[in-house]
């Protein structure tokens, strides 16, 4: 995208250039108009002056003398002196006079079109052109017939360029006075006037550019300061930027950055804690495995060795289970893999999970049963895998904590807004004081050989589904774990990043259950 500074500078200079161009054009037009008027007025004045000075009945010899003077042949000494002075003044003065003399001229004609008097650079063809234009392309009419209508200003194009003319009819002396000057005289002046007014701007533009460049740099200084502050910090420094006097435009950027840093810090802290816990919790199974391995090595007889190896095997099983649970827990972090929320039938899921767990319960001599109203709808939006883990963990927990010949009940209830799952057992329960602690990672009660992660995993899954979990006593004498999973995820706490569920999915994949 390039530099903001360069972009802004080009923009400012571009707009400035356009504005300057517009102003100059208007100035040029205005100057030209004013100069036209002034020059036109002077033409008219000149014509009237000539009309007054040259009477119709002028003696031919006087006229010839005048004509000779105009032709530049008989300049008087006085006039010559005047010319010398003029030569010193103007650079454009030539030996014959001034070069502009070729651009100015007049002619005096009678009604028959005969030139009575003319200057050196008289626009001679102009009268014929005017007459021709007047007659509309036919035979040129005579001046006498043209009448007063022809008098006034005209602009014609002659062989040496465009001329501005003023034609005056001297009715008293029955003669016409035509005064004219070449257009480029005016054009040159207009150009010079415009250029003069434009010149300071053109010279000033680079200076303006420099100032704008510096000003943008100054304006962008807060940005540079943030950049410096970011560059200066070490890779481990994830503290907030803590900048003072942040300009209003940068506040959202700095705030977002700080929020991001905070999130990253929290994430890292959670990872660190998790690793510490994981390392801690793997030590015991490893210690078990190691001590039995060493006992096997040191065993005096084969029977002892076999016993130690069996215990070693159990120890490795345990380590494996801990690792699996740790991985399950790690995968439940939304950052690792966002859960796939689909409409899930909890009843069907519970049935499958209980079918898997029943042999375990039988092994313990326990009675395991599922109770639910078959006609009710037990669909909730959820991640099938996670919800399976939830049920499995709760039930196997109950199996582990219930003495032989005990019983375990799994109850499902459907309400309009949620599905309630209860797992009850006839075990020894959890004292009220410990009920909060059991959800902590690696908390264990008694000498159970679990990793202490089962309920932490359950709590995390419930949280991801926007549900609630509670422990209580139950009629069976042991513990009841009550999980409420909402049907509508809209009520979930903000900030949890789980893909939204479209309401249409709520109808469920199994339409028949819906129709009941």
């Amino acid at each position: 995208m390039g530099s903001i500074r360069r972009r802004t500078l080009l923009l400012v200079l571009g707009l400035l250039g356009i504005a300057l161009g517009g102003i100059s054009f208007l100035g040029y037009r205005d100057a030209r108009h004013e100069i036209q008027e002034l020059f036109d007025a002077r033409l008219a004045q000149q014509a009237r002056l000539l009309a007054g000075m040259i009477p119709g009945g002028m003696a031919p010899d006087a006229r010839a003398a005048l004509q000779e003077a105009l032709d530049g042949g008989g300049l008087g000494a006085a006039a010559g002196e005047g010319r010398d002075a003029e030569r010193e003044d103007g650079e454009e003065a030539l030996a014959l006079g001034h070069e502009y003399e070729g651009k100015l001229g007049f002619v005096v004609v009678d009604d028959q079109g005969r030139a009575l008097l003319q200057s050196a650079a008289a626009p001679l063809g102009a009268l014929d052109l005017l007459l021709a234009a007047r007659s509309g392309g036919g035979e040129p009419r005579r001046l006498a017939e043209a009448g007063d209508g022809l008098a006034g200003y005209h602009t014609v194009s002659l062989h040496d360029g465009g001329w501005r003319l003023f034609l005056l009819r001297d009715a008293r002396d029955r003669q016409w006075i035509l005064v004219g000057e070449r257009e480029d005289v005016r054009g040159e002046l207009v150009g010079k006037v415009t250029l003069r007014s434009l010149l300071p701007d053109l010279v000033g533009l680079p200076l303006v550019a420099l100032l704008v460049w510096l000003a943008i740099g100054w304006g962008l200084r807060p940005l540079a300061r943030i950049a410096e502050s970011l560059q200066a910090r070490g890779p481990d420094d994830l503290s907030a930027l803590a900048l003072q006097d942040v300009p209003q435009e940068l506040e959202p950027v700095v705030a977002s950055l700080d929020r991001l840093l905070l999130q990253v810090t929290e994430l890292l802290e959670r990872e660190r804690r998790f690793l510490a816990y994981a390392a801690h919790e793997l030590r015991t199974p490893l210690a078990v495995a190691r001590i039995h391995a060493q006992n096997a090595l040191q065993a005096p007889d084969p029977a002892d060795r076999a016993a130690a190896l069996r215990l070693l095997d159990t120890g490795i099983d345990r380590a494996t289970r801990v690792v699996e649970q740790l991985l399950t827990l790690a995968r439940l972090e939304p950052e690792v893999s966002p859960p796939q929320m689909v409409a899930t039938d909890l009843l069907a899921l519970a049935r499958n999970e209980l079918a898997e767990l029943t042999p375990l319960a039988y092994e313990h001599g326990q009675d395991l049963a599922l109770e639910a109203d078959e006609r009710a709808d037990f669909h909730v939006p959820g991640d099938v895998g996670s919800l399976g883990v939830l049920i499995r963990n709760l039930v196997s927990n109950a199996v582990r904590h219930t003495p032989p010949d005990g019983c375990i009940r799994v109850l499902l209830e459907a309400t309009s807004t949620a599905v309630v799952l209860r797992v009850q057992d006839s075990g020894h329960g959890v004292p009220p004081a410990l009920r909060e602690k059991v959800f902590e990672r690696f908390f264990r009660t008694g000498n159970a050989e679990g990793a202490g992660l089962g309920l932490a995993i359950v709590a995390r899954i419930v949280e991801l589904h926007g549900g609630t979990i509670a422990l209580d006593d139950c009629a069976l004498g042991g513990l009841e774990v009550r999980v409420v999973l909402p049907r509508d995820m809209a009520g979930r706490e903000a900030g949890q990043r789980v893909s939204a569920i479209s309401p249409s999915i709520h109808v469920g994949t199994d339409g028949r259950q819906r129709e009941d």
């Binding site: 060493q294 006992n295 040191q298 005096p300 215990l311 009660t445 000498n447």
Partner: protein
């Protein structure tokens, strides 16, 4: 030498018990903090191997209460908590040694021996008493430089007596040192072992304090 093992993890406790079996110790095992405190308060143990993460009472609290009651029993803490802060907390709470899981069995045994030695105020691993030498590491006894073959219980008894010369050890105390919980001793077994020891070594080594117990004189 009687050792109390406090470990809530059944598999690990079983492993340690098996590992210590060939050693010259009687090992008793409890699985929670409250039982550990009770046992250590009411019975004589030469040493305790204590896990920290225990149900009913945390190992650290057991330790603090023991020391608060001025109980000097040497305690080897065995734990998965390996952070330096945890070790410091453990040692400051009154632990004599600290071993982090997973540990080497031979190291555990060596540390137990070292702790017992230190608690008996000895620097030498081998117990000397006149011309009798007892080596707890190799479980060997010699008299006048000649090895003497002893039964396990006889060795335990001699170890107990030689470790505290000049002190009368009651019959109960010696019974406990020889037999852990759940091991039933016949009423006259102690006398039988004493008799064997006197015969295999020399009669004057062990004196009987009638009605009270036995002692080995200070050299």
């Amino acid at each position: 030498m009687r050792i109390l093992l406090v470990e809530d993890d059944a598999a690990l406790g079983e492993g340690i018990r098996i590992a210590l079996k060939p050693e010259a110790y009687t090992v008793d095992w409890v699985q929670d903090g409250a039982s550990a405190l009770h046992a250590l308060t009411h019975e004589d143990f030469a040493l305790a191997v204590l896990d920290l993460g225990l149900p009913r009472m945390d190992g650290l609290e057991v330790l603090q209460r023991l020391r608060a009651a001025a109980n000097p029993v040497p305690v080897l803490v065995l734990t998965a908590r390996d952070a330096t802060g945890d070790r410091i907390a453990g040692l400051d709470a009154g632990a004599d040694d600290y071993l982090v899981k997973p540990f080497d069995v031979d190291e555990l045994k060596a540390r137990i021996r070292a702790l017992l030695r230190r608690s008996a105020n000895r620097a030498q691993p081998v117990l000397h008493h006149g011309e009798v030498d007892l080596d707890p590491v190799n479980q060997q006894v010699s008299y006048r430089g000649q090895p003497v073959v002893l039964q396990r219980k006889e060795f335990l008894l001699l170890h107990e007596l030689l470790a505290q010369p000049g002190r009368v050890l009651t019959r109960d105390r010696l019974q406990q040192a020889l037999y852990g919980w759940g091991e039933e001793a016949e009423s006259n077994t102690l006398e039988v072992h004493i008799h064997h020891l006197r015969r295999k070594l020399f009669p004057e080594l062990i004196r009987t304090v009638r009605g009270v117990g036995y002692l080995v004189d200070k050299v």
